[in-house]
């Protein structure tokens, strides 16, 4: 393959990526878009085996096959053996953290590529190349370690609350200053040691950067780190003289930035508040005081009776529903109510689950008809005419504190206004607050009935009680 053909293949792959992102933006074309992207990536990967990229220092350009071919194929095989089963087998509930992990390893790969090319270029690297290398190493390492922390938060291997320690912001500022200082050191002094030091403090900075982010905001950070990784890929494309990498990386960086903003908007958060909110937030009473207050808890039979005489019921599914694997049972309940002539809709909050759109994926898995899923803007005006709102394993997305108490971490987030419904039923495992760690006043409302227990077990009991009526 000659260099012109190689470049054209790269261009074609770049176009494929644009079409992929375009396709992914519309429900009808989304799946095809993803396949086009996969096709472009495959073609681009095959093309590097057929063309020898001249070494950056211009020293040699050898003939095919490329060096270390056996090793390269072996490493790809290892990657396939790890990546494909992980992607195939992951429970849909755990998918967000897998995406975070995939993003992290991508950032790690970009950092490694930059380090190797730097070692390889040695003294022949131009200043511009060194600057781009430094950028790739810093941002790639931040993306890698940051994504590992988001993974641990979502997997609940560590607390989902913001982690803040005294003087935390000074430690972060000092680390950032160290990153910048060492970056300058690498650019001026050149050498392997400074670069490795830079990699290590960048990894540390990634950890510190994500630790203060609260659980509910983690998806926004994943999206931001995703955009970061894109930019590192673009920067390494400059060092490797690969137009394809520049195009692909920039596309992901740009679209990822927009997507991060859209997600933050859907959650009513500013990006700045997400990243630094834990430092500026006033300590608030709601999280600290867990005084005993009376709640009204009911039995599955009480719930069934309430539902039996309702005309309109709105189901608000949350992550707890997915954890309990209760999607199928909730559909059974909905079908039963429909057969009794009760009007049923699902109110889907944009960020229900752990990521925007996550709940739609989970309910789709249970074959819930698409026309029963109502988006927040559609369903909110109807709560006034709703007899019963059933909140299953959700909490933060219906918490009126988001509208009423400024200063609470989710203040400003649009919510499903179930508080306007005539009756509210909460299916909960315990009185534990939601993912964001905020107390929900609605639980103590006199028109609220709580049904404690595993969502799936409770729903099964409600279904049989309702059948018996």
């Amino acid at each position: 393959m000659n260099s012109t053909l190689y470049s054209l293949v790269g261009l074609a792959a770049g176009v494929a990526f644009i079409l992929a992102l375009k396709g992914l933006s519309h429900p009808k074309t989304a799946r095809r878009g993803n396949l086009i992207g996969a096709f472009g990536a495959t073609v681009a990967t095959l093309s590097v085996f057929l063309y020898v990229t001249p070494s950056g220092d211009g020293s040699e350009s050898h003939s095919l096959p490329i060096h270390n071919l056996g090793w390269i194929l072996g490493a790809i095989a290892v990657g396939l053996i790890i990546g494909v089963p992980a992607a195939r087998k992951v429970e849909m509930t755990q998918m967000p953290q897998l995406v975070a992990l995939f993003n992290g390893v991508g950032g790690g790969a970009a950092a490694l590529v930059a380090i190797v090319e730097y070692l390889n270029l040695g003294d022949s690297a131009t200043t511009a190349e060194v600057i781009f290398t430094v950028f790739t190493v810093v941002v790639g390492c931040v993306s890698f370690s940051g994504s590992i922390i988001t993974f641990m938060k979502l997997q609940e291997l560590m607390t989902t609350r913001p982690v803040v320690f005294p003087g935390g912001r000074f430690v972060i500022a000092a680390t950032l200053a160290a990153v910048l200082g060492v970056s300058v050191w690498v650019v001026t002094a050149l050498g392997t040691t400074p670069l490795l030091v830079l990699a290590v403090i960048s990894l540390l900075f990634g950890v510190l950067f994500v630790l203060p982010v609260g659980g509910a905001d983690v998806p926004i950070v994943i999206s931001l780190l995703n955009a970061f990784t894109g930019l590192t890929v673009a920067a390494s494309g400059y060092v490797l003289s690969s137009t394809l990498l520049i195009i692909a990386g920039t596309l992901v960086g740009a679209s990822g930035t927009i997507l991060t903003r859209l997600m933050a908007e859907a959650m009513g958060r500013s990006l700045f508040g997400t990243l630094f909110g834990a430092f500026t937030a006033k300590p608030q009473a709601a999280t600290g005081t867990t005084e005993e207050r009376p709640v009204r808890s009911g039995s599955p039979d009480d719930v069934a009776i309430l539902l039996n005489y309702a005309r309109r019921v709105v189901i608000v599914p949350g992550f707890g529903l997915a954890v309990a694997q209760a999607q199928h049972t909730v559909r059974e309940l909905a079908d039963l109510m429909l057969s009794k002539g009760i009007d049923v809709a699902y109110g889907i909050h944009p960020v229900a689950g752990r990521m925007p759109g996550h709940m739609n994926v989970l309910l789709a898995e249970a074959n819930v008809p698409y026309d029963q899923l109502a988006e927040m803007d559609e369903v909110n005006p109807t709560f006034g005419q709703t007899d019963v709102a059933i909140v299953i394993g959700a909490n933060d997305v219906v918490n009126p504190a988001a509208q009423t108490s400024p200063g609470c971490p989710i203040y400003g987030m649009p919510i499903l206004e179930v508080n306007h419904a005539a009756n509210i039923i909460f299916l909960k495992r315990s009185m534990r607050p939601g993912f964001a760690g905020i107390e929900n006043e609605l639980l103590y409302d006199p028109k609220t009935m709580l049904l404690f227990g595993d969502a799936k077990a409770s729903l099964t009991k409600v279904v049989s009680a309702l059948k018996a009526l």
Partner: protein, 96 residues
């Protein structure tokens, strides 16, 4: 690489990236992020190039590690995105 060419490519790609995703419903945020995530797995191309350039075992070892990570990112990313989107499909079949 020619600086002007690089800046041109970069600038145009930024605008295209902004444009293509500016209107997307929240339902698709997760698959779109996952798909974009898979696309940057194309760093695999870069990892293979540096593996070819490697002059010693350290360089080769690091680039092989990069290849493993990049492959996981790229292939895993596309597979998991496809799985998410697969679930949107049967519903449409029902409606039509």
């Amino acid at each position: 690489m020619d600086a002007i060419a690089v800046i041109s490519i970069f600038t145009l790609a930024v605008f295209v990236g902004f444009e293509v995703v500016s209107k997307v419903s929240s339902t698709l945020h997760t698959p779109l992020m996952s798909g974009a995530n898979a696309i940057h797995g194309v760093i695999l191309v870069g990892a293979i190039i540096v593996a070819d350039h490697s002059k010693n075992n350290l360089e080769l070892g690091l680039s092989l590690a990069a290849i493993v990570l990049a492959t996981i990112n790229m292939v895993g990313g596309f597979v998991v995105t496809d799985r998410m989107l697969e679930m949107f499909k049967p519903k449409k079949g029902d409606q039509k």
